[in-house]
């Protein structure tokens, strides 16, 4: 069970033009995520969602505050699904899967297993350029799951894809998640997607602050039991019996 502890984190980038103002990507965020939960992070473009994931994965360093991802008392092991597939174009699909692992043949079996789970067992020896965008993205998802991470970071993994491909990948993701129950931080623009997939939704506002933190308390989900969203934007059960949740439904923190 991974634990994400973010304490008064901020990240400021230098001004894009000389004499301009520095860009505040994240302004003072505190957040705790623990256990095998699926947490979505939504918010408008530029509010620091990707930056947050990049800090958690060690690609960026915080300006102030701290962020740590631990598994027990050791640093957690991460998987990352990016907006684009980010495969090495000069390596085959299988070699791309092996690129992120340190083990030999045992790892190959595992990599093959996860490729199979996203329906790509026939592509082992192909180069990414020979796959469609959706297939490449599936390799990216398989790669992230195959390292069996303690924490899985996903940054708008479906936003580059057409609606039908996105839906089928979402189903793949739900199946993988139900099978593995990782701790997931999932960035999206799409509120419906967030509601469908998550146990908890964190809403960021421009300037990189937490605007809302909603816990969704629906029965265990499966691809065939998708919650609906009412006109007012509240989640409903597929049966439609559940009305808009009363304010106390969500645990809010501001």
């Amino acid at each position: 069970m991974a634990r994400v502890a973010i304490d008064r984190l901020s990240k400021t980038f230098p001004p894009p033009t000389k004499g301009g103002d520095p860009v505040v990507a994240i302004g003072d965020i505190s957040l705790d995520v623990e256990g095998n939960v699926f947490v979505s992070i939504v918010g408008p473009s530029g509010c620091g969602k990707s930056t947050l994931l990049n800090i958690l994965s060690g690609v960026e360093t915080p300006t102030r505050g701290s962020a740590s991802v631990t598994e027990g008392d050791r640093p957690a092991h991460l998987g990352y699904v990016f907006q684009d597939a980010r495969l090495l174009p000069w390596r085959t699909v299988m070699d791309n899967m092996m690129y992120v692992r340190d083990d030999g043949d045992a790892g190959a079996a595992k990599a093959a297993l996860y490729l199979d789970m996203v329906g790509l067992s026939h592509t082992h020896d192909m180069f990414p350029g020979q796959l469609s965008g959706g297939m490449q993205q599936r390799v990216g998802i398989a790669r992230a799951f195959s390292v069996e991470p303690d924490l899985l970071l996903m940054d708008e993994p479906f936003s580059h894809l057409d609606a039908i491909t996105a839906r089928s990948l979402r189903d793949h993701l739900q199946e993988l998640w139900s099978a593995t129950r990782k701790t997931v931080l999932f960035v999206t623009h799409d509120v419906v997607e967030a509601v469908q997939l998550s146990d908890r939704i964190i809403v960021l506002a421009p300037g990189g602050r937490i605007f809302d933190d909603i816990t969704i308390d629906l029965p265990p989900r499966s691809p065939r039991q998708k919650p609906l969203v009412s006109r007012r934007g509240w989640p409903l059960r597929a049966s439609g019996r559940r009305g808009p949740p009363p304010p106390s439904r969500g645990t809010r923190r501001r």
Binding site: N54, S57, G58, V59, H77, L78, G79, Y80, F82, D84, R86, L88, P89, W90, R91, D95, Y99, V100, D102, H122, M126, F127, G129, Q130, V147, L153
Partner: protein, 290 residues
């Protein structure tokens, strides 16, 4: 107003015999060679001191087979060629490896860039003959002079190209490596090197050409053996067919290295990029098969 009639382009007629011959790779090469030799022959009519192609071929035959050039001078080809090749490979190895390392340093670290970039640029502007002179001054008539000439002359071309390639590596891929905690050596081998491969080849091509120039000059000035030495030998003996013959030898050598070795290596390194078309068909076949 009526719209102007739109001309519908006609399907291009298939090229006729001569055009097709010229468009085929072999046809183009053979034609170019024939034209070149014809022009050369014509030149000998205008300038009688220029040795003609047949004369030169006869010379090369004697030189390569070790026959007699008339009198006591015998053909010596392989001894000189082998010596030059050894020195060339050694020098190129040093120049290439150091160029690769320095290029990667400059490309990946701003400090290294600040320290080394200008130095490499200065080296880049040095003509090969400067190295040939300098190394002869330093080492005299020894094997080190030609080897170091090749190394010095080729090094900056590799370094500059590789540095540029490293700087062009997509930051997204580097982020991916960091996020998955990929080790340094793996990152170097599977990300840096393939990403920079095109630049490495460009650098290597320059390095070979410049290095080859360098070794000929060095041997010309200070050699006791080698291709450059032998070329000068014939030049000093006023035997221009010998001189031209050896010039042809080094041109042919460079072309062969380029075509046979470099092109194959490059095709291998870029398999991932060039395979596309064929394999889309394969994918379709596989999907039909499923």
């Amino acid at each position: 107003m009526t719209a102007a009639p739109v001309a519908i382009p006609e399907a291009p007629t298939p090229p006729g015999g001569v055009r097709r011959w010229l468009n085929s790779p072999v046809g183009a090469q053979v034609t170019a060679a024939v034209v070149f030799i014809g022009a050369w022959q014509l030149l000998t009519l205008i300038a009688p001191r220029v040795p003609g192609p047949i004369e030169v071929m006869q010379f090369l035959f004697v030189e390569i087979t070790g026959g007699s050039h008339g009198g006591i001078v015998r053909g010596q080809f392989f001894e000189h060629f082998a010596i030059t090749l050894q020195r060339f490979s050694l020098g190129l190895f040093f120049g290439f490896v150091s160029g690769l390392l320095v290029g990667i340093l400059i490309g990946s670290s701003t400090l290294a860039r600040a320290l080394l970039n200008d130095t490499v640029l200065v080296l880049l502007t040095m003509p090969a003959f400067v190295w040939a002179f300098l190394t002869t001054m330093w080492f005299g008539i020894t094997w080190q002079a030609p080897v170091l000439t090749v190394a010095f002359a080729s090094f900056p071309f590799v370094a500059i190209n590789v540095a540029q390639g490293v700087r062009a590596i997509a930051p997204e891929l580097r982020h991916m490596s960091t996020a998955f905690e990929v080790g340094r050596w793996k990152h170097f081998r599977h990300l840096t090197v393939p990403a920079v491969a095109g630049y490495i080849f460009a650098g290597l091509r320059f390095a070979i050409i410049i290095g080859w120039n360098g070794i000929l000059l060095s041997e010309w000035f200070s050699g006791q053996a080698g291709v450059g030495f032998r070329t000068r030998y014939w030049f000093d003996a006023n035997r221009y067919r010998g001189f031209v013959g050896w010039v042809i030898v080094f041109i042919v050598f460079i072309v062969l290295v380029d075509r046979v070795i470099l092109n194959r290596l490059q095709a291998r390194a870029f398999r991932w990029r060039d395979q596309k078309e064929v394999d889309f068909i394969e994918i379709q076949e596989q999907q039909v098969g499923l």
